[in-house]
Amino acid sequence: MSGTMKITLKVWRQADPTAPGAFEEYVAPDVSPDMSFLEMLDVVNERLIEGGKDPIAFDHDCREGICGMCGLMINGAAHGPSKLTTTCQLHMRSFKDGDHITIEPWRAKAFPVIRDLVVDRTPLDRIIQAGGFISVATGSPQDANALPIGKPDADESMDAAACIGCGACVAACPNASSSLFTAAKISHLGLLPQGQPERYRRALKMVAQMDLEGFGGCTLFGECMAACPKGISIDFIKRMHGDYLWAAVTEKPEKVTLGSG
């Protein structure tokens, strides 16, 4: 094991959603390069607790890069300097002894800070609720492979379905747009046969919800794609735009029916 590093942290501290918040500096004198970024924060927090201070609040759960809970703006890059990496999978070997690291929460009007580095990302859940589902009659399952799906479609759908909803796309976007998230959720269903009946209504509703939540619009900077830990392409945003445009021209208004068949 190589030697330890001294890292100086500049961390956003904010007691609650309405408090003003400010940066505070902390020195971590004995950081191992084998630590993950969150383990480094754990060690800093241990010391804060021992000193009778409030630990730094940050979101985390699985710590294996698949749950989408963690997410920090690290030196101006969402999830830090490593590509295709969540914050929990970022390791301190990406930094060097004496480095100064600025840690900020995701910044968006739709993502209010709850405390320190923790933000409220329920707007993303509401975008899903607006249309990120398929409506099927439940009951006995049909045979596997009863519905053939071409390999390219299945692959593309899975690429979109890789989205873990971490919000890095919003955080990295100069417009604080959630277009990449919304596009991924629209596309992973819209590329499969099961997603076809509601495909265009889904685009209308999820885009409407995205606007309602106060996210900015997409100007195709491409920053979201670079920040995405799952490498989701802005081609899905293009697909969302196409679905939305087609929906706006062709989709009939929803009717209230008795549903008596």
Partner: protein
């Protein structure tokens, strides 16, 4: 009940109110304007075919087919208004979407062209007003020697002044950036681009942007270098 291809007013308002709808309007009007700058650039190059030819071209547009010219002007005016309005409103929304900014945010892959769309666009609008005032409306404070109908002479008089040459070349630089991002983005806004391994690559947009802006720049440069006089 809206039927296919017959959206009612309410649907159109909903479309206009959505971020994607405004973006589509900005893209479609942008395409109209791209078509215009290509034609305008090609027409301007006739200045290298001499005074008689150039003034005849000006007369064609301003007298012989003035009805067509007016139809095009109205389409362009509507396009510019909708383009600027949608850009303005989307910018306001984008700025409102991040009330507290980061202390640092490093651009990862976004291009200089994409980051200058807004302020570059403002500059291009100012340029548009000055350009129309100078060569179409004949504002004397912009070009004291302006003579209506003497298109060739007006161009030469303007570009014998180095400051005007510099101003026009600067405008063409911003037009270059605006076209590099705009012509690339519009296909993604309308959902018609193909999936790509490198979706951020902009080869054909660079060609379009360079042809248009170099073509335009040849006119002030031609006068400044004494090729056109």
């Amino acid at each position: 009940m809206g039927s296919v291809f017959a959206p009612n007013l309410w649907d159109m308002l909903k479309f206009w109110n959505s971020s994607v709808g405004k973006k589509v309007v900005m893209g479609v009007t942008g395409l109209v304007l791209v078509g215009f700058v290509i034609g305008h650039m090609a027409g301007n190059l006739q200045i290298f075919m001499g005074q008689v030819r150039y003034n005849a071209y000006a007369k064609l547009l301003q007298e012989d087919i003035i009805e067509v010219t007016w139809a095009v002007r109205i389409a362009l005016l509507v396009s510019v208004i909708l383009h600027v309005l949608s850009a303005w409103q989307l910018t306001q929304r984008a700025w409102a979407a991040r009330p507290v900014d980061y202390s640092i945010r490093e651009a990862q892959v976004s291009t200089y062209a994409s980051r200058t769309m807004r302020w570059g666009g403002v500059f291009l609008f100012v340029f548009l007003v000055v350009h129309l005032g100078q060569f179409t409306l004949g504002w004397k404070w912009l070009l004291p020697e302006f003579i209506r109908g003497a298109a060739y002479g007006n161009v030469v008089l303007a570009f014998e002044r180095p400051l005007w040459v510099a101003f026009y070349l600067l405008a063409m630089f911003f037009l270059l950036l605006h076209l590099v991002h705009g012509t690339w983005a519009v296909l993604r806004t309308l959902g018609v681009a193909k999936n790509a391994a490198e979706p951020l690559a902009r080869r054909i947009p660079w060609i379009i942007a360079l042809v248009v802006t170099v073509g335009f720049s040849l006119v002030p440069l031609g006068v400044a270098l004494g090729v056109v006089r």
